[in-house]
Subunit: 349 residues, 2 copies
Amino acid sequence: MDEFELDERKTKILDAIIRNYLETGEPVGSRTISKYTDLNLSSATIRNEMADLEEQGYILQPHTSAGRIPSDKGYRFYVDHLMEEKNREVSEMKSFVIEHTEKMDQVLQQVAKILAANTNYATMVTAPTYHKNKVKFIQLSNMNEEQILATVVTEGNLVKNKIIPVNGEIDNETMLKLNFLLNANLNGLALQDINLGTIAKLKEQAGIHSAIISDVLDTVAETIGQEDDIRIYTSGATNFFKYPELSDSEKASELISTFEEKQQLASLVTENLLDEENTGIQVYIGNESPIQTMRDCSVVTATYELGEGVRGTIGIVGPKRMDYEKVMDNLKTLKNSLDGILDKKKEET
Amino acid sequence: MDEFELDERKTKILDAIIRNYLETGEPVGSRTISKYTDLNLSSATIRNEMADLEEQGYILQPHTSAGRIPSDKGYRFYVDHLMEEKNREVSEMKSFVIEHTEKMDQVLQQVAKILAANTNYATMVTAPTYHKNKVKFIQLSNMNEEQILATVVTEGNLVKNKIIPVNGEIDNETMLKLNFLLNANLNGLALQDINLGTIAKLKEQAGIHSAIISDVLDTVAETIGQEDDIRIYTSGATNFFKYPELSDSEKASELISTFEEKQQLASLVTENLLDEENTGIQVYIGNESPIQTMRDCSVVTATYELGEGVRGTIGIVGPKRMDYEKVMDNLKTLKNSLDGILDKKKEET
DNA sequence: TGTTAGCACTCCACAACAACGAGTGCTAAC
DNA sequence: GTTAGCACTCGTTGTTGTGGAGTGCTAACA
């Protein structure tokens, strides 16, 4: 439907208006378009067409006697139909950083930073989480007379530890038994599989050490219970200042706060992560975004998949007049660099 | 010396100027002081005294025919000699949060948040680190045929894990040997104690498994090697907007970036943490701060000590005209709430 | 000798005003 | 259907002037 609402000439004009506005951030007038395009039309003709486009809701006037700027609908049309999807080659720098940085959290922080430096927008990267997470391995070890160490590893290779206080050392044999008991009963289970029955059975078999079981189960719950503390790395929050339409201190302040309190950002992410089919790029224009403070922004996110089922999100937040082509290109590149990185690293060794 | 440079009357006037400026943020004139103080002096007299104070460098004039504002030297004098140290009772709320939040990282984030909400300045809290850190315990475990899990615990009870890929499962006996080998050679050692000799000896004894030793040593280095990734929690970075002298977008942008790239903040912290004697509160006024972007700010930090040797820092960054009394009061309260919390929690269990 | 009243002067903040120019809608001619 | 022309709108920018807060200095006073 939408596609046939605009004839070719209107489409070209709309395209020109948006591209021009993306560059300058200033309302664009009919004379500019008349010269900018290869349509060879006078400004008067363009004016007529622009009046139509405004009526149809693709562009709007900030005030009489100003040029036109794209509306949300206009941007949406641009993203869906006008924008070219370039496929430039992968930037050397990016891959380099990713392949040469050791720790995952540094990689992700770097990704956010590169993206922000490259695009001049605010960026966020969420640490990968493994959904439908299962216990892979549990290990209890005697640290000393008073403490034992519990380590839980999930199939996504997330690891958590807990130090559990005990009264008096537990002998090695008991320890082996406990380890066996835990692994035999819990391995391969997801959070929802561990029910009261399982717990009761475990405690019973643990006998006098059932208190330890409780602590271990706490750690298990923390480790495989997702969502509650997705790590989010951000960069370039101050880029909002670069765009006059976002830089008045109230708006900028709200936006930057949202970036500082990273929790809120998680809402941009969760739905994408759960949708198993989604491997592409999402664009939220203005009010399409779930976060209220971002109503004057556009948000573009990509989901990466480190390894089987281990997923995270890379995102960009900027003004509606963001350079969508560049942004999506960047996101794709980084997504590709991250995708399957676990497997790659494995091959190296 | 400094103390005797100012007679009682000048001191009172300086005090009045600063207090007034802290409240209003506007340059303060002679008439205001004449009424504000109980000195019963005319504005003309005050003017003469103010001229003297300016000559001595305690106050300055933004421009002719404006009132006076405190200089860095003035603030320093205020903090060192004029300020009253109140000791209000511990706010209920704060202790409540600390005692009822489970995970340490949430506690620290909460502390930052409370402090920011309470003071209207930007705040930071660093996670505790244990200095002169020593290896307490190392544990290798077989996860499956391809991977073993290395866990390193320090005396400060920091725990780190690493998954190490191997070719073919290692039998239990070998594993026990390796564990024994590692613990026998490394327990009780600090980073600087682990030299090439130790490493060579270890590798030799490990025989064909010496590759694993390298990986374990990497993990050890990461765990007890301090500084490199102190976790820093921040809150209220956008509070800078509340103070006109900091809120023009260039300054605010720099400051907020500094807060986003938390690494830089670490420099505020390291020296305090290493100084064993330091248990008090540090105040950096303007250029006294090691961070260049904060030359127009004051920084106040407090060092807390969770348990024997496990220390972190709470800090506040705001305009020079910050409410030093309130800030220091708040920091003390929080510091007290955090101090020795490990022992407290231990008693509970 | 220290304090104070008086006064001329400085300089910022703010409002009012004018000039400009980019852009529009409309009309009439091509 | 397209275009030139024109009157009109409205935000931006620069200028000007006024008011006020505050100063430094001088001279008188206790």
